[in-house]
């Protein structure tokens, strides 16, 4: 371990409690860990892996050789949040997603925030993610991002930051659900000692959200489908799982067709009209007539049907401008502009390399910053300065000078840690949290919890499953512990 890595760990806030102390929400977990041998824990972990393999909850990694079907490592030690911690987060998430939806409606509508000079126009209308096809169009209910995944990190007891917004097709919710199922099977007594807010209503809430998005002409019982790119997609399991839980069909592009601006699916009983499409396909591939002509995944004529108001797409096309990393620094301003409120959740300070002053600062402080592609995802194309070699830093400096607009940089945060079962025993590992936020015209709903991702390698800050990250069950308690303080 390098010096900077050990510094990152020692400086990090441990959610169970600093050395020798236990925060009250973790009291029962600490008892349990103290009373359970390493062998027992390892046996439980093996059982968990068997459970996950059996249900077939895998994701696919291509281009690395070998079997592409991988299992995301599951850590059996849960991550716990108290009631009031969660309530504060929940209020902040609600506020943020309301603002993001207001921004999307504005960006494709009157563009008032651009006219007011709060966000540079070029950053929005010149953005690769800006869809001209959406201009002047208001989706049913006015909602653009019906399902958002907001990535949060924590650096202290009350310090939560939004790391990024995912407004397009966020994935991972199946792990939130399966992780809880696994914990219920593996540790019924431990769960019984806590009062944990349930997560298993998510599929119902999702279905209600999707039904609420149906166009007006759809009637009382709209037909909802999940549109998947197919079984080679890394999240295919999740698409099938959610469809199954909601009791709706999971379809591929070829299962749908458009006739006179109405979408149908091909069934054994003939064509059946489709009203709402929960699409897990990127904008580019949705409709070869509107977007990429070479797309084999999409449905020709889908955008025309959408614009005619005959079908709902969830999320709406064009949401990428709201979660673009170059737009991200402006989200607090959006909250003030649209809601007239102060942001409840903070952004991580962000430097845009296309700004000259920011760029100079970034190039000067590469060893302290995390550099990311403005439009990258999945932890690819990213450099963590304190962990990078000199050669890597030089490589990134050159890249930033060549294409400054492609890069942003943020300070390396001392991400909080949670006790995690590793080879050497139980050790702190860095985590983040992705809650899933459901929006309809009338309300924003959040299932208490989310997907906790954990960087399993010692000192690593990268939690992405494609980069060696694992997951944990996330418990949100029904109430706060009595004294709310620290037990010794």
């Amino acid at each position: 371990m390098s010096q900077s890595q050990s510094q990152a760990l020692t400086a990090a806030f441990d959610e169970m409690g600093p050395q020798g102390e236990v925060r009250q929400v973790y009291a029962a977990i600490a008892d349990w860990l103290a009373g359970t041998s390493r062998e027992e824990l390892l046996a439980k972990r093996a059982e968990a892996e068997w459970l996950f393999r059996r249900v077939g909850i895998t994701f696919a990694v291509y281009g690395e050789g070998g079997d592409p079907e991988r299992l995301i490592p599951f850590d059996i030690i849960p991550r716990v949040l108290g009631r009031s911690e969660w309530d504060r987060l929940s209020a902040g998430l609600t506020q943020r997603v309301r603002a993001l939806n207001a921004f999307l409606a504005d960006a494709y509508g009157k563009q008032e925030i651009l006219k007011a000079g709060i966000i540079p126009t070029a950053l929005v209308t010149g953005n690769e993610q800006f869809r001209r096809e959406m201009q002047g169009f208001s989706p049913p209910g006015g909602v653009f991002t019906h399902i958002a995944g907001i990535d949060l990190v924590r650096t202290g007891p009350d310090a939560f930051y939004v790391l990024e917004d995912n407004c397009r097709t966020p994935s991972g919710v199946s792990y939130m659900l399966e992780n809880r199922e696994a914990m219920l099977r593996l540790f019924p007594r431990l769960l019984g000692r806590h009062r944990i807010q349930p997560v298993n209503r998510y599929p119902e809430e999702l279905l209600a959200t999707l039904r609420a998005a149906a166009p007006e002409g759809a009637g009382a019982d709209p037909t909802v489908v999940v549109l998947t790119p197919g079984n080679f997609n890394s999240a295919y399991y999740e698409h099938c799982y959610l469809a199954d839980e909601m009791g709706v069909e999971v379809v591929e592009g070829a299962d749908l067709f458009v006739e006179e601006d109405v979408v149908f699916m091909r069934t054994t009983a003939g064509p059946r009209r489709v009203d709402v499409i929960y699409r897990r396909i990127d904008d580019d591939y949705l409709d070869p007539r509107a977007f990429r002509a070479d797309s084999m995944l999409g449905v020709p004529g889908l955008m025309a049907a959408y614009r005619a108001g005959n079908v709902a797409l969830c999320n709406a096309p064009g949401c990428g401008i709201a979660d673009d990393k170059a737009i991200y620094p402006y989200v607090p301003e959006m909250i003030r502009f649209y809601l007239g409120e102060e942001p409840r959740l903070s952004n991580v300070p962000t430097y845009l390399c296309e700004r000259e002053a920011d760029r100079a600062y970034v190039l000067d402080h590469l060893d302290q910053l995390v550099v990311k592609l403005a439009q990258g995802s999945g932890g690819y194309g990213m450099m963590i300065g304190p962990h990078a070699t000199r050669a890597e830093r030089q490589d990134f400096a050159a890249r930033i000078r060549t294409r400054p607009a492609d890069y942003i940089a943020q300070p390396t945060l001392a991400l909080s840690t949670v006790p995690t079962l590793v080879e050497a025993g139980i050790a702190p590992r860095h985590v983040d949290l992705r809650p899933f936020v459901l929006s309809t015209r009338d309300e924003v709903r959040i299932i208490p919890g989310g997907l906790t991702r954990v960087a399993l390698r010692q000192g690593s800050l990268v939690v992405n499953s494609s980069q060696g990250g694992g997951t944990k069950d996330t418990w949100v308690l029904e109430s706060d512990p009595m004294d709310g303080g620290v037990a010794c």
């Binding site: 099938c240 469809a243 199954d244 379809v251 091909r266 069934t267 054994t268």
Partner: protein
């Protein structure tokens, strides 16, 4: 149900059944080949098996003569042959994978384990009989898993439809290749053994004795395999099943019917009314060829109505 799901389930039924039928065909050919060596006949068993499996053209594009080793390799393993046993399992597994949620865990395991087991198993020479038994057992296991665990909705009906149609096709082809053996003639001992082998290929040797309680007779063999509804692999049984399944699908859809229903009804009506004497007088081969063609057309009509419709 989605047409794509029906498509995958229908072909899942067809491919698993085909794998079993190719194994049955190989068992018979193996038996006959060893008989013909003893009795000094032409030994053309492998060629006629390739014809029965509809693989003749593909095989002779690669091989000059139908030696046992070449024929067995082509029918068991050759990835260029879509009807090879391993190709059938690979295709069935592919179909199953695309509709995982429509299958039960038992069906998937039966298929997936079979694929992993057979993929690496030796099958040439003395390994062949054991390998073929294993294939038949694995197909029986899959069918049993479907029978015992699958919800009786449209998914179930489409798997069964694929199985029944494929089986009808297979029995007709098997009989047609051997039709000259069943033409009226004096029973020579070689032919007697061949008749036994035909019956064994559809697991019907014992059944013959139970039904007729008499010596093997070519006309009765033809009758048993074509017209007797109580033999599960007879044309009458398979087509009766196809009609029944199509009617049940129609009933579940408020009576929606198409060309495939009309065709299936016509075939079954004919099979119920025909006599074996009449069939043989008019020409067994002609009847079987017609039956193979109408089974193929029926399969296309099913796909046209339910899958591409």
């Amino acid at each position: 149900m989605l047409s794509r799901t029906a498509d995958n389930l229908f072909w899942l039924g067809r491919y698993t059944e085909r794998a079993g039928n190719v194994a049955r065909g190989l068992s018979v050919a193996l038996r006959m080949a060893s008989l013909s060596a003893r009795f000094g006949t032409d030994g053309d068993e492998w060629r006629s098996l390739l014809i029965a499996s509809g693989c003749e053209e593909g095989f002779f594009a690669k091989h000059r003569t139908a030696s046992q080793e070449a024929a067995v390799d082509f029918l068991v393993r050759d990835p260029e042959n879509p009807s090879a046993i391993l190709s059938c399992f690979a295709a069935a597994r592919h179909n199953a994978r695309r509709v995982r949620t429509a299958l039960t865990v038992d069906m998937w395991s039966a298929l997936n384990d079979s694929w992993r087991m057979l993929r690496d198993a030796p099958f040439q020479g003395e390994h062949l009989p054991g390998f073929l038994d294993l294939v038949r057992e694995r197909v029986l296991l899959f069918n049993g898993a479907a029978q015992d665990t699958m919800l009786r909705g449209e998914p179930w009906l489409f798997v069964q439809l694929g199985t029944a149609l494929e089986r009808a096709d297979s029995t007709a082809r098997l009989l047609d290749v051997k039709h000259d053996l069943l033409a009226p003639a004096q029973p020579a001992s070689v032919e007697y053994a061949q008749w036994q082998a035909i019956l064994q290929s559809v697991s019907a040797l014992r059944a013959y004795h139970w039904v007729y309680r008499d010596r093997l007779d070519p006309a009765r063999i033809a009758e048993l395999l074509i017209l007797r509804p109580e033999l599960p692999r007879s044309l009458a049984a398979c087509h009766g099943r196809v009609l029944d399944l199509l009617e049940r699908i129609a009933a579940g859809q408020g009576g929606r019917r198409g060309e495939c229903h009309r065709m299936a009804e016509e075939i079954t009506r004919w099979l119920r009314g025909a006599s074996i004497g009449g069939i043989i007088t008019e020409g067994l081969h002609e009847h079987l060829t017609r039956m193979i063609e109408s089974t193929a057309r029926l399969g296309e009509a099913v796909e046209a109505f339910y899958i591409r419709g």
